[in-house]
């Protein structure tokens, strides 16, 4: 499936949607409307958009802690994504999950998990289920460069390759794990994803700020997986413009590093100029941007106006099945 202009325009809309979403979340996090701490993906929109455009609602997705864009493009009700982040009863997880634990099983979002790397193990299971049932859906699991330190990733890659399950590791390498640069704490030849070779697993490194390249790499990986050729890893080189979490001053970053990425490598600017080169009118693109903002503002409205969870739901869902001996509420 090629990337025609319509599809690219849709991607443009989605990247703007993520950008605006994150900006609003940042704003409301700082205002105190959003509880807890929040990880933003501004600057990384092409990774999420390119990957998600290849996947369908039947595919299993495991977002990482920097998850909003993935949740938005999974096919969920977008306002419910926002409401979840605002800890509202109308959220996808009834306000119980929040930014780091959002699932929407209907559309294949199997939930993120704030223990970094643990989803690399969990995702083995959905991928194995596809194989078990002889279905052709795939599983995509998102991890960061820092998370490559986790033992679970190794266990997962070894088993995934041995079992030949349809699992794609999306390594979003934004250069930092909080304050620590990948090369400061890890050892690898040229790229972190070169390790895939040790499991006899294909890998690719692509510019994570070029949505077309991300899309194409993902499509290759998904095709392999759907054809029964097993797992692969794609490493997307990118950068987060914000600190690790909303509010992090990120003073650990040298000089004008952020500015350089903003100016030279903005994924949205990058796609915009491609689209303009293809003859799309500036006005059309501006309109997409405005629409994205409007859509996000509606989500925020929805979230702000939604009620908090009910107290009696605090102990709901602890056990999926209650034993006879349990008293009510347990």
């Amino acid at each position: 499936m090629g990337l025609n202009v319509d599809k690219l325009k849709q991607m443009y809309y989605h990247m703007n949607l993520i950008r605006r979403f994150e900006e609003k979340v940042d704003e409301h996090s700082k205002k105190g409307d959003i509880p807890g701490f929040i990880h933003l993906s501004i600057g990384q929109e092409a990774c999420q958009t390119g990957v998600m455009h290849v996947l369908t609602e039947n595919d299993y997705k495991f977002p990482d802690h920097r998850s909003h864009g993935i949740c938005l493009l999974s096919g969920s009700s977008k306002e419910k994504v926002m409401a979840e982040i605002f800890a509202k009863k109308t959220g996808l997880c009834e306000g119980k999950g929040g930014s780091m634990h959002i699932a929407d099983v209907e559309v294949g979002n199997m939930g993120n998990n704030a223990i970094e790397g643990s989803i690399t193990a969990t995702s083995l299971g959905t991928a194995y289920a596809s194989k078990y049932r002889d279905e052709d859906n795939v599983t995509a699991v998102f991890i960061g460069d820092g998370t490559c330190g986790r033992g679970e990733l190794h266990e997962s890659m070894n088993m995934a390759a041995n079992l030949k399950v349809p699992l794609i590791y999306i390594l979003v390498n934004n250069g930092y794990a909080i304050s620590t640069r990948a090369e400061e704490a890890h050892s690898f030849p040229e790229h972190l994803s070169d390790r895939a070779a040790g499991y006899d697993m294909p890998s690719e490194v692509v510019d994570g700020n070029d949505v077309k390249k991300v899309y194409n790499a993902m499509e290759r990986a998904v095709n392999r997986a759907r054809n029964g050729e097993g797992p692969s890893m794609i490493e997307l080189l990118t950068y987060r413009w914000q600190g690790h979490f909303s509010g992090d001053p990120a003073s650990y970053r040298p000089g004008n590093e952020v500015e350089k990425w903003k100016e030279e490598k903005c994924p949205i600017k990058n796609l915009r100029s491609k689209l303009e080169n293809k003859g799309v009118q500036a006005g059309t693109l501006d309109k997409l941007e405005e629409d994205a903002l409007k859509e996000v503002e509606e989500m925020v409205e929805f979230a702000l106006n939604s009620p908090e969870p009910d107290l009696e739901d605090a102990t709901k869902y602890i056990y999926a099945e209650k034993y006879e001996s349990m008293k009510e509420g347990e």
């Binding site: 299993y60 996808l92 997880c93 009834e94 119980k96 999950g97 634990h101 699932a103 929407d104 099983v105 199997m110 939930g111 998990n113 223990i115 643990s118 690399t120 193990a121 969990t122 995702s123 083995l124 299971g125 959905t126 991928a127 194995y128 289920a129 194989k131 078990y132 599983t139 033992g151 679970e152 266990e155 997962s156 070894n158 088993m159 041995n162 079992l163 709901k316 869902y317 602890i318 056990y319 999926a320 099945e321 034993y323 006879e324 001996s325 349990m326 347990e330």
Partner: protein, 325 residues
């Protein structure tokens, strides 16, 4: 009725459940070709093939992860962690994923896994093959811990565990594997979350699971000679446990002994003692006595191991203490 060994009863439950429900599959180290370190998965690989019986590498975290993820889609993984001491290697997946997934995603998914694992001492294998880690799992809402003490219960509780929607840690005391008992051929479930009064009595209640249950029943026989009547309760499900049965019994006997094989401090019996103290305070005629291991790791030397772990003598003496109080 037909007699089976504890390990055979478990094996039969697996065979029948895999036959009944094709969503059930088994994974673990050497569970396939070899049939498991203790023979519990014998014959499954030959019958159901490698899709449903996976020989895994030494990757406990990934094994649990695979189980959780598969369970999220409705499959029914039964994962063997060879020794209970190794749950330390997949503790995150149990605590932070299996136990919490249903709750944190507001009921959208369940994690119906069964983690089978061999626990307990007496095997002369020391520190890393002898522990009784049920206490590590008692402060984790969402998890269910099941522990049979006879072949009959082994089969019925494993069957029920596989059918349950909840994530379950299923302890198999390794010194029970070769014990024998009557086991029906057809498949059957025993209720989870429900304790079993193994012997009715009026003078002292003894709560004892797995290997300790045998000691308690033996003590009951012994003390009958002295006209002391023990009520022996096997909790069967350690977490969440059946308070009602325990309270009813203590209301009758007014005396309670809890026997468990793990180190005394912070062990399983601490919660029971605490709870009974709280809710049955007026009924108690003596303090709740805990008979347990010394607060020590399990040493290699059999002489030391036998000294560290509680045996029949300790259980009997503990009961006498409560009677004489």
């Amino acid at each position: 009725m037909r007699q089976l060994k504890f390990s055979q009863a478990l094996n039969e439950a697996l065979h029948q459940e895999m036959e009944r429900d094709e969503d059930v599959f088994v994974l673990g180290q050497d569970v396939g070709k070899m049939g498991g370190d203790f023979g519990v998965t014998k014959g499954l690989w030959k019958k159901y093939g490698e899709k449903r019986v996976i020989d895994t590498p030494l990757s406990e975290a990934a094994m649990l992860g695979l189980s959780n993820g598969a369970a999220f889609t409705g499959l029914r993984p039964v994962v063997e962690i060879m020794f209970a001491d190794f749950i330390t290697e997949c503790f995150d997946q149990i605590v932070n994923n299996s136990a919490k997934a249903h709750y944190m995603f507001a009921g959208q998914l369940t994690a119906p896994i069964v983690l089978r694992t061999a626990n307990g001492g007496g095997f002369r294998a020391a520190y890393h093959h002898s522990q009784n880690p049920e206490a590590w799992l008692m402060n984790i809402p969402g998890i269910t811990v099941v522990a049979p003490s006879t072949p009959y219960e082994a089969k019925g509780l494993l069957t029920a565990s596989i059918r349950s929607e909840n994530p379950i840690v299923f302890f198999e005391h390794k010194m029970l594997y070769s014990t024998s008992g009557e086991v029906p051929e057809e498949n059957y479930e025993l209720p989870l979350g429900k304790a079993k009064v193994k012997k009715e009595g009026t003078d002292v209640t003894v709560i004892a699971s797995m290997k300790m249950c045998e000691y308690a029943l033996k003590a009951a026989k012994e003390l009958e000679k002295e006209e002391i009547s023990l009520e022996v309760i096997d909790p069967r499900t350690l977490v969440p446990f059946d308070k009602e049965t325990i309270f009813d019994s203590v209301a009758k006997t007014n005396r309670l002994v809890v026997a468990y094989e793990a180190p005394k401090t912070g062990g399983y019996g601490a919660e029971i003692a605490g709870l009974v103290n709280d809710e049955m305070f007026e009924f108690l005629k003596a303090p709740v006595k805990r008979v347990a291991s010394l607060d020590s790791p399990v040493a290699f030397s059999p002489k030391l191991e036998d000294h560290i772990l509680p045996g029949y003598e300790e259980v009997l003496n503990g009961i006498k203490e409560v009677i004489d109080y």
